[in-house]
Structures are given as structure tokens and as C-alpha cells.
Amino acid sequence: MADLLAQGAAWLEQQRTKHLATTVTYVRGNQSVEVAATIGRTKVEADDGHVVRVEFTDRDFLILAVDLVLNGQPSEPERGDLIREGPREFEVLDWRYSDPYRQTLRLTTKHVGATET
């Protein structure tokens, strides 16, 4: 019997990707791929525990797991990977699947400056 919940979740993810996403470039070293990403939580934070207050922007990106193909191979995110959204560059600090069917990745990133070309 078909898993209706899984099918429903897959349909919802397709709709999210189709209607609630922007194109970003996922970069690892010399490899990159353009993926549709939904901008998740974004907030400005600060760490002032060590003399100098470090301010940063946290941003989550939601992308389809199947879209993350680097060098022709399906890949999982890694710390230090970059996401380029227009002129801005975000660094991947952490990631997890955001749904029980492992269709969508939630990438936790921090803004690290302008894109270097």
C-alpha cells in the first residue's frame, strides 16, 4: 500500500521548491551546482564572550536532497561548504534533514561576506 504521507510530503516539497524558492549556488572547493533554495530562519546574532563582540547573520536554507549533486555524485553537505546567494556568501556550519522522509536538507549557515570571484 502506498505511503500517502510520504507522497503528500513529496508533493509539498515540490510545491515549496517550485513556488517558494530562489536559485543559489552551492559550492565546495572547485565544484558547484545551482539549486533551488527556500530561505528559512534568518537572524542577526552576536557573541561577546571573548573581549571582542562578533556579530553575524544566521541563515537557514532548505534545498532538496536530490539537488545536491557535486561532480556528478549525490552528495551530503559538509562544514565549510559555501552558498552564494547573489553577491552574498554564506558558510555551511551544520545541516540536518528537515523531514522524516529525508527529502529536504536544512542547511544552517552564517554570512561570511561578499562573493569572491
Partner: protein, 142 residues
């Protein structure tokens, strides 16, 4: 100019005049704050920290002036190869001041250096950034 600020300025001058294993940009700040994005370049920040006043003699006052020096850089990689040179730089800075009088404020003698912390593991974990804070204590007797 307050004593602690004069000492902090002299520390900035001493750092700018010195040659370390890697070039540094030094700034003095009362309210040190930095955007994570600005830490792609190595940054050294000098911050006045504290002053302890005690009697040195019936006519002289001893002031121990603590100056924090923060060494920070965004990491390309979290491997020892990237971290070792930064920690070495922090140690070089500490060694540069050890038992030394400041050239532009000779009344201040460095009597203690402390790393607080030697590096911040949570900054590596959460920000992929190296942070080391060195506290230099200068004794001024007047």
C-alpha cells in the same frame, strides 16, 4: 589621556612596529565589535581591560594596567595546519612583550601575560573562527 589608554596606545604602537611571522592589522577599541565577514583578514584588537591600584611606597603608587589583545581570523579549514600558525602568532605577541618596557611609554613594564582563553573552542565550533585573547599586565609606578 587616561593612563590605561596611553598604555593601550603604546601597545598598538609596539605591535605595529614589530615584525611577526605573519602581517597584522592592529586597532585599539573601547567597544570592540566585528562582523564575522570582516574576519577573513587577520585582525588584532587592543582593548583596555582593567587597572589595579596599590601603594608602592609612602610616596609612590603602583598601577597594574591590564590590556587585552585579541587575535582573530576566519578559518579556511579547521585543521591543525590552519590553527597552528595563529596560535603561534598569539604566543609570539606574548613573547614580544615579556618583561619589556613599552618604547612609547617606558614607564610601563610588562610583568604578566595570560591567555584568556588560549583559544576559544566555541568560536571554532560555531563560527569557524579562531579567537585567542592575551591579557598583558603592565606595571606603572609613579
Amino acid at each position: 589621556m587616561p593612563l590605561i589608554t596611553q598604555v593601550a596606545e603604546a601597545v598598538v604602537a609596539a605591535l605595529n612596529a614589530a615584525t611577526f611571522s605573519q602581517p597584522i592589522t592592529v586597532a585599539r577599541s573601547y567597544l570592540p565589535r566585528v562582523e564575522l565577514a570582516d574576519l577573513k583578514m587577520l585582525k588584532v584588537t587592543v582593548v583596555p581591560s582593567s587597572v589595579t591600584v596599590a601603594a608602592a611606597s609612602r610616596s609612590q603608587t603602583q598601577r597594574d594596567v591590564a590590556i587585552d589583545v585579541a587575535v582573530q581570523k576566519k578559518l579556511g579549514q579547521e585543521q591543525n595546519l590552519s590553527l597552528d600558525p595563529l596560535l603561534a602568532l598569539a604566543e609570539e605577541i606574548a613573547e614580544h612583550f615579556r618583561v619589556k618596557r613599552l618604547d612609547s611609554f617606558p614607564g610601563a613594564l610588562c610583568v604578566k601575560t595570560e591567555f584568556k582563553p588560549i583559544y576559544a573552542p566555541e568560536h571554532i565550533e560555531q563560527l569557524r573562527t579562531f579567537t585567542s585573547v592575551l591579557t598583558l599586565t603592565f606595571r606603572v609606578i609613579e
